[in-house]
Amino acid sequence: MALSKAQVARYSRQLILPEVGVSGQNRLSEASVLVIGAGGLGSPVLFYLSAAGVGRIGVIDADAVAWSNLHRQTLYETPDVGRPKAVVAAERIRRLNPEISVEAIEGRFDAANAKDLVSRWHMVIDGSDNFATRYLANDACVLANRFLVHGGVVNFQGQVMSVRPRQSACYRCVFPEPPAVGSVPSCQEAGVLGAEAGLIGSLMAHEALKAILGVGEPLLNRLVVFDGRLSRFREVPVRRNPDCAVCGEHPTINAIQSIESAPTCAG
């Protein structure tokens, strides 16, 4: 499809990349992505995906904007405190790029809606803030065969990996089970610098755009780990686990089931 003058102007700095061009721009506009969590990771993800012209974006989040969000969740401004994040985030990225379609889903990503939700999008980006949602997102993406970009950040540590179900290691192949409720110490010392969440979220957005465009190599079977104290990225190879409960040879998770886990802070 030919681009309008306004589109050429808006996207010119990526259109001139040989890896993008008009055909790449069309791929972006035909793509649909569900972003789970509109927080510290979801903010840059939603910003860069909408700015790049990803045609259909869904954002699910159950929370309202809190004061404690403002140091890292760059979609929100002080007057937004108290308003539903999914709604504010959708408004914000619609203003950024009125050409795309944005669906705000106010609510929790849970066992009841997970599979149905992920099935409605080509790709899923997990920027949630708790283990239960992360394992659920992974299981739903494996079962519905959706490309997943996973990222997490806490306490100067960040991680990113992508999952192409049944072709590359899934999150559960790497980390078989979430921490049980009560099995990890409380999270009093958890915290994060806003810029680190932005860094990991930007890497996730970059990973998604690359995958849509078919540029380069996605983070399949590779877990990128960022040590924010040393400002050092490392990469460890990961692989499919034949005993994986969801994508292994004899899966025990064949339908979405709800997951109980400790909240954010393992390790």
Binding site: G40, N130, F131, G152, P179, V184, P185, V225, P237, G267
Partner: protein, 91 residues
Amino acid sequence: MAITVRIPTPLQRLTNGQGEVACEGKNVSDLLGDLDRRYPGVKERICDETGKLRRFVNVFVNEEDIRFLQGDQTAVKDGDEVSIIPAIAGG
């Protein structure tokens, strides 16, 4: 020469802020024991009360996941690099 153990940032407060520490041992189980003697409290964050590696924590010896080697009996030697990588959920 010893074995270099990379500590995930959430546990670095137990290692005096160090991201890499030197430990000794002939296998991973030994090594984690030595790590805990030097920096008390680290092991319980990595292993459960029976001493088994927690299911949301991975240990890599020279970039190979020990679950695909011999688990905590995986041999280590001077000069090896061991990374401890827990799942993290924050966003």
